[in-house]
Amino acid sequence: MAHISAGVATSHVPLIGVGIDQGKQEEPYFKPIFAGYEWTKAWIKKPENKPDVVILVFNDHASAFGQDLIPTFAIGCGEEFQPADEGWGPRPVPVVKNHPDFAWHIAQSLIIDEFDMTIINEMPVDHGLTVPLSAMFGEPDAWPALVVPIMVNVVTYPIPSGDRCFRLGQAIARAVESFPEELNVQIWGTGGMSHQLQGPRAGLINAEWDQKFLDDLTGDPDRLRQVQHIEYLRETGSEGIELVMWLVMLGALTNPKELHRHYHVPASNTALGHIVLENRS
């Protein structure tokens, strides 16, 4: 039986990718950014922790999807996904390999559970998906885990509510539990934390709000699932809304225990947050 062993969340700031791809990890600006991932990189290498599959919840940043077609929730079921060219050439990272049997199983289960998924078989994947892989796995020749991409629209409003995202996570957990293959599965939520990339208010950071959010992932998940879009927008900046994707991860976990936390300002324009949660189902 497949089981979710852990939830991992992390910001997916493009600059993290730049730092890795250009070998800048030791530079003073980057050092404290990467230091907080050392614990996780050691943890995730241990055989008992290494995931066979990562269900990776991310948003597309106008890379695979333009304004011609905007899915609310999508799941990647294709064999593999190539890194996208976001305007400066594709990142020099391995192709992302899926576990199509598992992905299709989850897709079917979610649709029967009344999530109106869009199924995607061909899709370039941008920094939203590849930066978390780099942060956790470094620079291998091939990613050490298979990846089921779950895409959430957080660009064009209305986006799904935090509560809907949480319930998507619950439905993902049901889907995973009913898959017969023995698989160590992790679910990752990406994006955030507080940041705003646009307008005169750009550069907004709200460390206090972010830390409370990190606390309540284990302390008060019921509060988090009720946080409204307007609160994210006012308190964490227009791009802080990406935190709803952490709620998909959270919804898939049972009574999670915090194993590790990393919070650093700034990474580019962003408050970088990262947390590792053990699933105690």
Binding site: H61, G87, S194, P200, R201, G203, L204, R234
Partner: protein
């Protein structure tokens, strides 16, 4: 749902210095944003950099949007329905980082903006709500 939807969206307009990408903005910016997507191909980036006006002539975007794009006036582009994830294709093609491009929208020069970020970023205090002034 109608009132809910209206309240939902009205609140977005109460955030200082922020353009939430509502459907109204999405519609206004449609051709502008779709233009940005074309810059994901190296051959299109070359053509754009070689002759911006000629390349723009192929787009259905408005004259205003074209002007703002040529001027790299990102606040104006936001006002005209541009979305930052789309516009990122433009400044990436220019070789600018997110910090360099984003700072141009704040009225600060890039060094001051960087210094603000290094010092913990912009506080939400005073910029949460236009109405509440908090």
């Amino acid at each position: 749902m109608g009132k809910d939807l209206q309240n939902y969206k009205d609140a977005f307009e109460d955030i200082p210095g922020t353009r939430v990408f509502t459907t109204e903005r999405a519609r206004q910016g449609y051709w502008l944003n779709q233009f940005c997507m074309t810059l994901m191909k190296p051959e299109n980036r070359e053509r754009w950099l070689a002759d911006e006006k000629a390349y723009l002539a192929e787009s259905k975007m408005s004259d205003e949007q074209q002007e703002a794009l040529l001027a790299r006036d990102y606040n104006r582009l936001l006002d005209l329905g541009g979305n930052i994830y789309y516009l990122a294709k433009v400044f990436s093609t220019d070789g600018l980082s997110f910090v360099q491009a984003v700072s141009t929208m704040t009225g600060m020069n890039v060094d001051d903006y960087k210094a603000m970020m290094d010092a913990g970023g912009r506080s939400p205090d005073g910029v949460r709500s236009i109405k509440e002034g908090n």
